[in-house]
């Protein structure tokens, strides 16, 4: 039987979660009344690189890797061609789970994976990551099936009673933000963006979240614009040359000056692409929208 928690637990856990995905939080210590200082020293997990990776060790390993200022935890599933490995992002915050997500039990505890949050890693990235846990064969099989099976249950009720909607939302957006750069590198078909299946969950539950909100008041828990505010947020019209399409399938064409530049593309508050801009990107939404609205909601940040 699942335990019942008060709402405050989820808010506290969310605070914990947001800190846990940050790389090397401030190690400075307030010594209070102790007049004792230490020399702060930062540890970096970048300087290791095992000489070789053994195929036997990699699948099933839960790894933590650094990406910018963030930490990503993932389960390596299997090897793909050209030295690439498929990985599924994991979080130990299983309390934020909903049916349609996957719970895997590793040796150190349970992890939560969101549908559609898998990506490919290079051998170098694998060798620079840190193994923090390991799942057994049964959970590895479950995870592989979770990634391969397209017809799984997408949306559903929360696993724990009382989980506030905004906490779940903040968690999901953060998880997909973290992996966006990795997911944008190897699109399954050239130019085709993969939108997290989970946005359907938001859309069905609260359509306002993507398109009708005048301010992002519902995203206060997760201040995703913190970094993008510092970058220049150009007008959507300038780098986007044109948008074609209808109903829910669109092609976004970028101008020649923007192609090849490092950019983040937002659909309202949802980060949908981060990486070097190709000439165009194709987008399939789980709902219909007119061209003008889409153009208004798309934002590019360089």
């Amino acid at each position: 039987m699942n335990p019942i928690y008060e709402k405050q637990v989820f808010y506290a856990l969310n605070e914990l979660y947001l800190d846990s995905v940050r790389l090397d939080p401030d190690l400075d210590f307030d010594w209070d009344d102790l007049e004792c200082r230490r020399q702060p020293r930062r540890f970096r997990a970048r300087s290791y690189s095992p000489e070789s990776i053994s195929d036997m060790e990699v699948p099933g390993s839960v790894r933590v890797m650094e990406l910018g200022k963030s930490l990503i935890c993932c389960l390596v599933l299997d090897s793909r061609s050209q030295g690439l490995w498929q990985a599924l992002q994991l979080s130990m915050f299983t309390e934020f789970g909903a049916s349609g997500d996957l719970i895997v039990k590793a040796r150190g505890g349970a992890y939560l994976a969101l549908a559609g949050n898998s990506f490919l890693l290079t051998e170098e990235e694998i060798s620079q990551s840190v193994v923090v846990d390991r799942v057994g064969l049964y959970d590895l099989m479950k995870a592989r099936e979770f990634v391969e099976q397209p017809d799984r249950e997408r949306y559903g009720r929360y696993l724990l009673f009382g989980l506030p909607h905004e906490v779940r939302q903040s968690f999901v957006l953060s998880e997909f933000d973290l992996s966006c750069e990795l997911r944008s590198r190897f699109l399954p078909e050239p130019g085709w963006l993969v939108l997290p299946a989970i946005i359907g969950e938001f859309y069905h539950a609260r359509p306002r979240i993507l398109f009708d909100m005048s301010i992002d008041e519902e995203l206060v828990l997760y201040n995703r614009y913190e970094s993008s505010k510092q970058a220049s947020m150009r007008e959507p019209s300038s780098p986007i040359a044109s948008i074609h399409g209808r109903d829910n399938v669109f092609e976004i064409v970028f101008d020649d000056h923007s192609v090849g530049q490092w950019a983040s593309l937002y659909l309202k508050s949802l980060l949908i692409f981060r990486g070097k801009l190709p000439a165009s990107l194709k987008l399939k939404l789980p709902f219909s929208i007119d061209l003008m609205t889409l153009r208004e909601k798309l934002k590019l940040s360089f």
Binding site: C36, R38, M92, G108
Partner: protein, 270 residues
């Protein structure tokens, strides 16, 4: 594990004071935690526990502050929470020690501290999470803490599952049932899956097309799901079955490069 009493806090602070203005470097803390984790060292090295407390205090400061705040709100001392989190890191790290040691051997010397730090940091976050949930629990009993740990699955390692008689018994029964009731061709697919996951070279299903293999895998997965539902097998039993009995099973089941074994090719598919 000695969890100490109120005086321990004084002892800890005195110990930390002893390092004077230069303080205690993180490298030293990590080195001592590593020594403290070694089997048999905890008894000989009583002050070693302070290093764990020091690690839990210095790392993930925001989380520590959150826990401090929660303690204050619940009118509880922060010190027992420090002890509890450090003990949790100790339990988790010592449980995982051999695996970490093996991995560290493959890491260049210069990067070992960074690697070990990241491993401990991951465990600390999990321990902080447990603590936050515990502090929100109105009963806040040790029983609740134990139940919570079981929910988390944190201590259901394979070794522990194997020591749970009823799970091992069920897994053995399931293994025998599979041998008796599943056709060798299905077991061949199961073994293909197993050997594939273990990255072992295999000739099983080698002559089947990729599409066929995909179909066979999907069918097997459905069959396993049906098995779990119909026989009411728990996932922990499946875990033990996969980890322990599958290797034995796959040694007994002859490998076939096709779905059907050569001698049954003319038989109708049931």
């Amino acid at each position: 594990m000695y969890h100490g009493d109120g005086n321990d806090e004084v002892g800890y602070k005195t110990w930390l004071w002893g390092y004077g203005n230069r303080g205690l470097s993180n490298t030293t803390v990590l080195k001592r935690v590593w020594v403290y984790l070694q089997p048999g060292k905890a008894h000989k090295y009583s002050r070693g526990y302070y290093n764990l407390i020091c690690f839990a205090s210095r790392n993930r400061m925001t989380q520590s502050e959150l826990i401090r705040r929660l303690c204050r709100r619940a009118d509880l001392d922060f010190w027992p929470s420090q002890i509890s989190r450090s003990g949790c890191v100790y339990r988790r790290a010592s449980h995982d020690l051999e695996a970490v040691r093996a991995r560290l051997e493959g890491v260049p010397k210069a990067g070992r501290y960074g690697y070990f730090h990241r491993v401990l940091d991951h465990k600390l976050v999990r321990c902080n999470k447990e603590e936050v949930k515990y502090l929100h629990d109105p009963v806040r009993s040790e029983f609740q803490r134990r139940v919570q740990k079981e929910e988390e699955g944190g201590y259901r390692s394979l070794d522990e599952l194997l020591h749970r008689g009823e799970i091992k018994r069920e897994a053995t029964q399931l293994y025998n049932w599979l041998l008796e009731n599943w056709e060798p061709r299905s077991l061949n697919v199961l073994c293909y899956l197993y050997e594939n996951m273990m990255s072992r070279p295999t000739i099983r299903l080698a002559d089947e097309s990729q599409d066929n293999v995909y179909q066979l895998k999907s069918r097997l997965t459905r069959k396993l799901k049906d098995l779990i539902r119909e026989r009411r097998v728990s996932e922990d039993v499946m875990r033990v079955l996969f980890e322990v009995f599958l290797q034995r099973l796959c040694q007994e089941i002859p490998a076939s490069p096709t779905y059907r074994y050569r001698d049954e090719e003319d038989e109708p598919d049931l």
